[in-house]
Amino acid sequence: MSDHAEKAPMHRYGGLTLGAVAPWLIGALLLAAMPYVFSSNSAITIMNQMAITIVFALSYNMLLGQGGMLSFGHAVYMGIGGFGAMHVMNWMEDGAVALPLPLLPLVAGLFGLGFAIIIGVFSTRKAGTVFAMISLGIGELVASSSLIVVAFFGGEEGVSGDRTYGIPVFGHDFASQTEVYYLIAGWLLLATLLMYLFSRTPVGRMANAVRDNPERAEFLGYSARWVRFYSFCASGFFAGIAGGLFAVNYEILTAENLDLATSGTILLITFLGGIGFFFGPIIGAIVFTLLQSVLSLQTDLWQLYVGALFVLTVMFFPGGLAGVIMMHVPPWRNGKMRALVRPYLATVLPAGIGILGLASFLEVLFHVRRAAVGEAGMTLFWIHFSSHDVRVWIGIVLVTLLSFWLARRNAPALRAAWDFANTPPEAAPKGDPK
């Protein structure tokens, strides 16, 4: 029944090694140090948002990447966790409940878990299209009932509250953004660690097996449905925690937190980061939050660029950003990273300039079509010019075409260098491509 190895003192498998602990220690130190490096209020706001998105994206990837379940309604679990947390927060304000604020995300997680149990019982019978459609239906159902069940969802204005009425923790009442940052960072670390460990448990391993081949898993003694159910519940729990962190950070939840657009965005973020690796969604959440908060200040077209980035990722790098990073492990192992530097510069640099050129073209076009009559001056990459000047147009088109031509011309050399870098040293053939 149970395994005896746990009690055997001689062999301990997977004991804590430095290599296993180091990433977590570095992560913890980094999280602790961030407010000292980026101390402005807006930076802390961005980092809080980033951390919440990371937890949400990781919980989403428990379904998509690890369990093979494509959900179009994951925002529901974060939203319900968040709304639950807001109500508890308001009870704390009324004095009906006494709770230190750092425990509120746990309560939110339980809300998410509870709803996931109810939905998971029937939605995880099948994966694939059936699951996706049910998730879409539930997403729409809950989003629309947010305007109907006003007692819980607060109607159009949502539910808001004040986070400072919790039992103080060592004198902190979490009124300041920095205090909230450390609360969120602590939960980020804990939730990430727990989600990582979950993927290493028997049911987490079987989630991968069921994703790859549900039928075979059944012939190993596991019901594919119940394996999916456990992943689904865990995912709902961690999405709820993300919702609780959202409640703590913003002190308001509205119907927007539950809607299909939010569910779609988390799918996009997770895929962009890479669903095949545990850390993929972390990268996706960081990149997306930066794009969203920094790029949106620079241009009205930022969503167009994010959309294009997503399409290009799906088409050319289905492993996402994490996949691109992990592609470089074999060249690294072969000790041939240096062979890639020059071809990369020769191809990726012009390609990047070409993309910026294309974006500039769109920006100028957008400016000409949208700006007020007589308003011709615009600034792009710190250069001020008139968007109606033909020379600007010709210059942009020329630079763009030239860059793409250069990138294309150098692409074969990059491919050759890539093949070379991926060949193990002992089996290396003659030529060093230059």
Partner: protein, 251 residues
């Protein structure tokens, strides 16, 4: 000797097409039993009925005397019956080691545990390593299973099938599509890993069948027309007619 597997008047229809017609068979414990027959005789359907992939239209399957009616594949598996598939059926994106370790999880007693770490269990890791050594894939341990050669994937499939410690092993055409050397290799492997277990095998390669089986059943049009030791089946008039007849029809 008691029966490991007993089929009693088993039948299966898809619509009006009767694929299995009132089939009875008893396989003794520790026996190596081969099921042969022309294409379309219902061999794979029979496997699917026994393992719960399809529900029978009529009749019963008993494993060690226990009725399997209405049980799902995973429940049947837990009772000690494990199978492989005609088309390679592994977990292609997981490593070879992970494939075998997953196959060990249930029988090691972990069930749906989400509080144990698989990497810390000696039973799982040593067990998986032992099976990898047995199927000669220890050197491929960390490769994604989908990247193995065809013969290696077939070996891995057998490894997954036996890993859970089931005492009744069913193999569906384990040597299909293999070269002669690969076939010899797989047959030796099967003999090794199914020692002291009950083996039921569907196979087209008569060399394999007559070399491996204690008894042979011949399935034609959903019925068993002969069961017995290899020599007896080879000499059977009806078997010769069935195979000869099929050959004549094909001309």
């Amino acid at each position: 000797m008691s029966a490991a597997l007993e089929l009693d008047d088993l039948s299966k229809s898809f619509g009006k097409a009767q694929i299995i017609r009132g089939l009875a068979l008893s396989v003794a414990e520790g026996e190596r039993h081969a099921i042969i027959g022309p294409n379309g005789a219902g061999k794979s359907t029979l496997f699917n009925l026994i393992t719960g992939r399809f529900a029978p239209t009529g009749g019963r399957v008993r494993l060690h005397g226990q009725d399997l009616s209405g049980l799902a594949p995973y429940q049947i598996n837990r009772l000690g019956l494990s199978r492989s598939f005609q088309i390679t059926n592994i977990f292609p994106k997981m490593s070879v080691f992970e494939n075998v370790r997953c196959a060990l999880l249930w029988s090691t007693g972990y069930k749906y545990s989400f509080w144990n770490m698989v990497s810390r269990s000696r039973a799982l890791n040593e067990g998986a390593a032992e099976i990898l050594a047995e199927i000669n894939l220890a050197g491929r341990r960390d490769l994604p299973a989908g990247m193995l050669s065809y013969a290696e994937q077939r070996a891995l499939e057998i490894g997954i099938t036996i890993a859970g410690g089931a005492d009744v092993i069913m193999l569906d055409e384990p040597t299909a599509g293999m070269s002669n050397t690969e076939t010899d290799y797989i047959v030796d492997l099967i003999r090794k890993v199914t020692a002291n277990k009950t083996l039921i095998i569907v196979e087209h390669d008569m060399g394999v069948v007559f070399g491996l089986a204690d008894r042979i059943s011949v399935l034609v049009y959903g019925q068993i027309i002969a069961t017995g030791p290899p020599e007896e089946v080879r000499a059977n008039q009806r078997v010769q007619e069935a195979y000869l007849g099929a050959a004549l029809e094909a001309d």
